[in-house]
């Protein structure tokens, strides 16, 4: 294990995780206003459909796929034990990789060429978009060149990632990987690292709670029934109405 491996596969992930946690929590609590999808559809109109929808759906599926194999490597291996199921699994993943690749290139082009969008594009937007493009290109490359990723990821890299999380990093498996895969992993850590400072944070506030919320929201600033009672005036615990 070289110093470089230690730097990239032990130091970097821990730095990334700490920065991610501190950064996102800090941003959420102190600068909640800045957390938004920053949708440009209002300036762009219908044409963005063919970029944003495939990009979002594709990257969600790829992310959830990676997450699933990381969390349940045994299930992934079990599924892959049948060659037909393995091919289906890899085929779907690769297809969505290509979808995201095409969509992200389209989104980058539109960001550069659409005069209105250029006005609402920050350097960080370009940085994270290039980073994602880099990741998707490497991901497709890995999928084509180092088959079958869904199996060896479950067998070798998932334990490595778990070793990071359990604070006893074991880098033998990752150190033995080809450099393309290493780059893909480093790219992932860098995305986690810069995540709190990009527009990607809107992913963390996906409004799933909308599903079980009643449609109408009424907020009372204070409970007037309580306010009218003299005996609550000096209590140490107070009702929270907002």
């Amino acid at each position: 294990m070289t110093y470089l491996d230690t730097l990239l596969f032990v130091a970097l992930p821990y730095v990334a995780i700490v920065v991610f946690l501190v950064g996102t929590i800090g941003r959420y609590t102190t600068a909640g206003f800045s957390i938004t999808s920053l949708s440009a559809q209002f300036l762009e109109g219908r044409s963005g459909f063919w970029g944003t929808v495939p990009f979002h759906i594709g990257i969600l599926i790829l992310f959830l796929g990676h997450l699933f194999i990381f969390l349940f490597p045994d299930l992934a291996l079990l599924w892959n034990s049948n060659p037909v199921r393995l091919i289906i699994h890899e085929g779907i993943a690769f297809t969505f990789g290509l979808v995201v690749l095409v969509a992200i290139v389209g989104l980058l082009i539109r960001r550069w060429t659409h005069p209105r969008l250029r006005m609402v594009t920050s350097p960080m937007d370009i940085a994270i978009e290039l980073m994602l493009l880099f990741q998707v290109v490497l991901g497709c490359w890995v999928a084509l060149g180092y088959r079958w990723g869904s199996s060896w990821f479950a067998a070798d890299l998932s334990p490595y990632l778990w070793s990071i999380l359990s604070l006893s990093p074991e880098t033998d498996a990752i150190a033995a990987m080809p450099w393309v895969i290493k780059l893909h992993v480093v790219g992932a850590f860098i995305i986690v690292l810069i995540f709190p400072f990009t527009r990607l944070v809107h992913f963390l506030v996906a409004p799933l709670h909308y599903l079980w919320r009643p449609y109408q929201v009424v907020m009372w600033y204070w409970d007037r029934k309580k306010i009218r009672r003299a005996d609550t005036a000096w209590q140490s615990t107070r009702p929270h109405n907002n």
Partner: protein, 515 residues
């Protein structure tokens, strides 16, 4: 009975002169910012016209508001299923060009251009890109353009009129228009609140003002689709939605909202109405021909002892109940029965009511049939051929044969029911007849009282209507209950904790200073 209070408004359209002072007052205070340049939380439209954003009333385009779904109602273009599936790209979102691309002029070029043979010009530039642009659309672009092919004739409300009626409406000699000032309606069943995936939009329990929490809004932009009045706006710079806040900081301090305060024609009234929140769902789901009546039925009489008792049981402050009893809105809407909500068929139960305009309806214009035809004595003579008749000789003739189809007003204010508009226009007319009897004296007392009786008014009520319409002072037009923030603060922190800690000479609590 779940009695709640709502800050509600009446706009008296007969008094609106279309000066846009309200829009400017609002813009100067709230939306003169980057990303908000195109927003007009308060705007004034010429009707007939397409409005702002273009054709906003056409829900086949914008998919706003609620629609009946079986016995229940659902959002037309948003909601849990549609909202979350369209979250990456909302097909029903208006784009900025539906409003207009904000612009300014390069005024500095007028001063800094080098000397030359030509006059320097100030070219228009986009406020989004800064690039020179051709202005195709702007605020109040269709101002006063009744009859114009691009604007007036594309008014979605004309759909209820036959082609002949439309053609007649836009004959040059009969042409009429009126102004429709619009702000957020602060609805009882707000579609924007229901559509917000983040839950950032809420209705304040105390006064019913609908607000967007800017820290919680994530720019999913469903509210822009859902509001059928297009009164939530997407700020393209901050990536958040914004809307009229009814100047709540002013209201809490007892001031009228800026648009209302500045209104030159004094058309705006603001006050509290009490309503029964238990009926909300049933009213929103009512059949279309019952919508207006059931919405008005939901408003409660603030002098009814039962209502007062229920309001107090709900913890409503005495000052709020008192404000409701003096509310000009309650008088116009319920006692006088003169005001109607805008587009009740959207089922959001808007709490901004309009007194429909009489003037474009009343005057009739006919061609002289023959040389001997006599004008009646109080009619106005325009020129040799045309008679501009504001006669009140046959009491309601001019309303029944109005030059401005009542169907058009009905499409705006009563979901197509012309009778509801007609009775209100007749009331306006009856008060005029009554006042003419009082001031000019050429109409007999009997005829004046006959006119009042026919629309269910009495002389004292007509006096009240006249007073509130024409003479009302600031405090009559705006009856704002105290916000009782002092009690709110008591709820948030224990004043006893602070006693002796803060005060003269200290800038922070003594405990922190270690004394």
């Amino acid at each position: 009975m779940d009695v709640r209070s709502q800050i509600s408004m009446v706009f008296h359209l007969d008094k609106c002169i279309g000066c846009h002072t309200c829009s400017i007052a609002c813009k100067n205070i709230w939306s003169d910012r980057k990303g908000a340049e195109y927003m007009w939380w308060n705007n004034v439209e010429t009707k007939p016209g397409t409005g702002y954003p273009g054709k906003w009333e056409d829900q086949l385009i914008y998919k706003g508001g609620w629609e009946k779904q079986g016995d229940d109602i659902g959002l037309k273009g948003a909601g849990k299923r549609k909202g979350l599936t369209n979250i990456f790209h909302n097909p029903n979102l208006p784009v900025i060009d539906d409003y207009y691309e904000p612009f300014t002029y390069k005024y500095l070029d007028l001063i800094e251009s080098p000397a030359g043979d030509d006059q320097p010009t100030a070219r228009p530039v986009s406020l989004i890109t800064g690039e020179p642009m051709d202005i195709k659309m702007g605020p109040s672009w269709d101002d006063d353009l009744s009859g114009s092919p691009d604007y007036a004739r594309n008014d979605p409300n004309l759909a209820s009129l036959s082609p002949e009626e439309q053609a007649a409406m836009f004959q040059l000699e009969r042409m009429a228009f009126f102004y429709l000032p619009r702000i957020c309606n602060h609805c009882l069943n707000p579609a924007c609140v229901a559509s917000c995936p983040s839950g950032a939009i809420y209705k304040r329990g105390e006064d019913g003002v609908v607000l967007i929490n800017q820290d919680v809004c994530r720019g999913w932009r469903m509210c822009v689709t859902a509001c059928p009045y297009k009164k939530t706006y997407y700020n393209w710079q901050t990536g958040k939605s914004e809307k009229c806040i009814l100047c709540y900081p002013r209201i809490e301090a007892g001031y009228a909202p800026a648009c209302m305060h500045s209104c030159v024609g004094r058309i705006r009234y603001l006050g509290v109405v009490l309503y029964d929140a238990d009926k909300l769902h049933d009213v929103a789901c009512a059949e279309e021909d019952q919508l207006v009546d059931s919405q008005l039925d939901m408003l409660l009489d603030p002098t009814d002892p039962e209502v007062i008792a229920a309001a107090k049981a709900n913890g409503m402050a005495d000052s709020t109940i008192k404000a409701a009893q003096g509310s000009p809105v309650y008088r116009f809407v319920k006692e006088f029965g003169m005001a109607l909500p805008l587009h009740p068929e959207f089922r959001t139960l808007p709490m901004l009511f309009y007194v429909p305009p009489l003037l474009p309806v009343m005057a009739s214009l006919g061609k002289k049939q023959n040389e001997d035809q006599e004008l009646n004595t109080i009619a106005k003579r325009w020129d040799d051929q045309w008679l501009y008749d504001t006669s009140t000789e046959d009491l309601w003739g001019t309303i029944d044969e109005s030059r401005f189809p009542l169907e058009y007003l009905a499409s705006l204010f009563s979901a197509g029911d012309t009778e509801k508009v007609k009775i209100r226009v007749k009331k306006l007319m009856a008060v005029r007849i009554y006042r003419r009897h009082k001031t000019v004296g050429d109409i007999s007392k009997e005829r004046a009282e006959e006119a009042l009786a026919e629309v269910g008014l009495t002389a004292p009520l007509a006096d009240d209507i006249y007073y509130l319409t024409s003479l009302a002072k600031f405090d009559d037009r705006f009856v704002i209950p105290p916000a009782h923030r002092e009690e709110a603060i008591e709820m948030l922190e224990n004043t006893g904790d602070r006693k002796g800690n803060l005060g003269f000479g200290f800038k922070e609590g003594t405990a922190r200073r270690g004394l």
